[in-house]
Amino acid sequence: MKRSPVLLAVLAALLVLLPLLVGNYALSVATLILYFAYTGQAWNVMMGFAGQLSLGHAVYVGVGAYAAGSLFFHYGIGPWAGVCLAIALCVALGLVIGFLAFRFRISGVYFALLTIAFAEFTRIGFDHLDWTGGPGGMFLRVAQRDTWDLANFRGPPLMYYYAMLALAAGAFALCAWLLRSRAGYYWQAIREDEEAAQALGINTFRWKLLAVAISAAMTAVAGVFFAFYYNNLFPEQIFHISRSIEIILGPVIGGVGTLFGPVLGATVLTLLSDGITEALAAVGWEIPGIKQVFYGVVLLAVVMFLPNGIWPALARRLRL
């Protein structure tokens, strides 16, 4: 693992200087990559580290986005207070889901389906909640896009890029630290063999809850970013199961449980999706659905032939 720090430094420098090198469109793609790298990292804390498969992470993005969005929409309160509320609500929600699931000994597939159920339940709930606009959505006012207004998180695309870069880098550092912390080792013990971990005296119930809480808190922040970046929220979009799948794709393709996996997976998938769009536009095949078919085929090939994800295979090849 000697070459990892060098690689990391080069990557960080490249990302900080990226806006000097590319235009606005590429910057928006890069922001999206960082967004998925971040949410993938958050999901990875729960699944990759502690072994709890969540298929409903969109619920934390949505609740976080709606919490901060509602404060801003109804009371004009900026996202800094909003992010606190978002984290508090999502941690509470995560703890409720985790408490119920772990107390009633729901695990594996059943746990995954429970997380889907909560996400869907919340989606339909928001569809019927008039205070947040119901199915018609909530639209946040955009006063200006020229100057950096950090208090209200309003500004040019460059600001959002750096904000997302800071979040992704922070999440990476947090996860690197977590993996080497007491919690990280306990989680890995639980992931590998929960009964054995319990026999060693680890309070698996409490440590699993901690993983859910951290993962939910991190994902909540992504939700706040989502609200203020896109400025419109629809329950059908933000809570949809395909959003949860999007969050999971990056780390699974990149490598579950690894630090670089979510980052690499997000990069590969976003560029792939973008590349397919461009290639299809170039040859003039613009039939709805064709892009996703290609995407699905590539996904199928990766999970078939690289069962542990791209990063472990790549790391071996590069001797990192």
């Binding site: 699944m47 498969l53 298929l55 119920l100 009633f104 000994r105 729901i106 594996g108 597939v109 059943y110 995954a112 389906l113 429970l114 889907i116 159920a117 909560f118 869907e120 339940f121 339909i124 709930g125 569809d127 019927h128 199915p135 199961i241 395909s242 799948i245 999971i248 794709l249 699974v252 393709i253 579950v256 039939i287 709805p288 659905g289 064709i290 892009k291 996703q292 078919v293 995407y295 699905g296 085929v297 996904l299 199928l300 999970v303 078939m304 069962p307």
Partner: protein, 290 residues
């Protein structure tokens, strides 16, 4: 408060629709019970069967009930090939890996349907669709009744297969004890593929029956996948009777929620029920404790 005969009508139609749901979920339940893989492409397969029925109807005026035979045969081959070619290598891999495989299959299926059939709704129109039987104050749609009857017949056939045939017994042996089944010389991978094929046959028949009840569009795929999950969890994942019971329960609760609350809130009710069942009786209503 709606009139009592209206409620009775809604309940009856909910039961009949629920039986078709139940057959669809039965496929998922059988696959999970034996192969231990959750088919995340289940609803997409269901939608594919529905499109197949509309295409056969449009091309040959083939009644959806007759279309069940060719569609079921094609689905058996499709299911067998999917299990043998793609899922068998995944049975020892972690759950998230299996999930991703079937999500990829689902993405390909739903978008291929979008490419081929477009976003507009399609349906079939047969002459008995608008007829109904009168049972006192209760009106029973002929199409719905026949669809439910087909579902019950198909489910009974599957029950009988697992109960009375040697192959069915062998499949149950695989489900009970993978290692034991291999020790006594069963060809487990072939039996797994056979099971997936049979699950796909359930979906094919349910899909052909369902086109009589609703119009088909590509987004139905993910929605039916979730619906099938709800049903099998409520009934008991891996339990055959549970899938039918869960289907009827969800069919009735959806119909009643549509009547009393709001049609758009009906699946909230189903997911609420799912959460309750998971917490209070995680093995499902008719499931056995693992």
């Amino acid at each position: 408060m709606p009139a009592l005969d209206l409620v009775a009508n809604v309940v009856v139609s909910g039961i009949l629709t629920g039986l078709v749901y139940g057959l669809m979920a039965l496929g998922l339940s059988v696959i999970f019970g034996v192969v231990r893989v959750v088919n995340f492409a289940h609803g997409e397969m269901m939608t594919l069967a529905m499109y197949a029925a509309t295409v056969l109807f449009a091309a040959f005026k083939l009644d959806p009930f007759l279309a069940m035979l060719p569609v079921a045969a094609a689905f058996f081959v499709f299911g067998y090939a999917l299990q043998a070619g793609f899922i068998n290598p995944f049975i020892t891999r972690p759950e998230h890996s299996q999930f991703m495989l079937l999500v990829a299959v689902a993405i390909i299926l739903v978008n291929a349907m979008l490419m081929i059939f477009g976003p507009d709704a399609r349906n079939v129109q047969v002459d008995y669709q608008l007829d109904s039987y009168e049972l006192g104050p209760i009106l029973i749609d002929k199409g719905r009744l026949f669809a439910a009857a087909a579902a019950v017949i198909a489910a009974s056939g599957l029950f009988a297969f697992f109960r009375y045939t040697l192959t069915g017994k062998a499949i149950r042996a695989c489900a009970d004890n993978y290692l034991g089944a291999r020790v006594v010389g069963l060809h487990v991978k072939h039996l797994y593929a056979l099971t997936f094929g049979l699950g796909a046959v359930c979906v094919a028949i349910a899909g052909c029956a369902m086109v009589l009840l609703v119009d088909v569009t590509p987004p139905l795929g993910p929605a039916y996948t979730l619906l099938a999950f709800v049903i099998v969890i409520v009934g008991g994942l891996g339990s055959m009777g549970g899938a039918l019971l869960g289907g009827v329960l969800i069919g009735v609760s959806e119909a009643l929620a549509g009547l009393f609350i709001a049609p758009s809130a009906k699946s909230m009710f189903s997911f609420g029920l799912l959460i309750l069942v998971l917490l209070l009786r995680p093995q499902g209503l008719l499931g056995r404790r693992a």
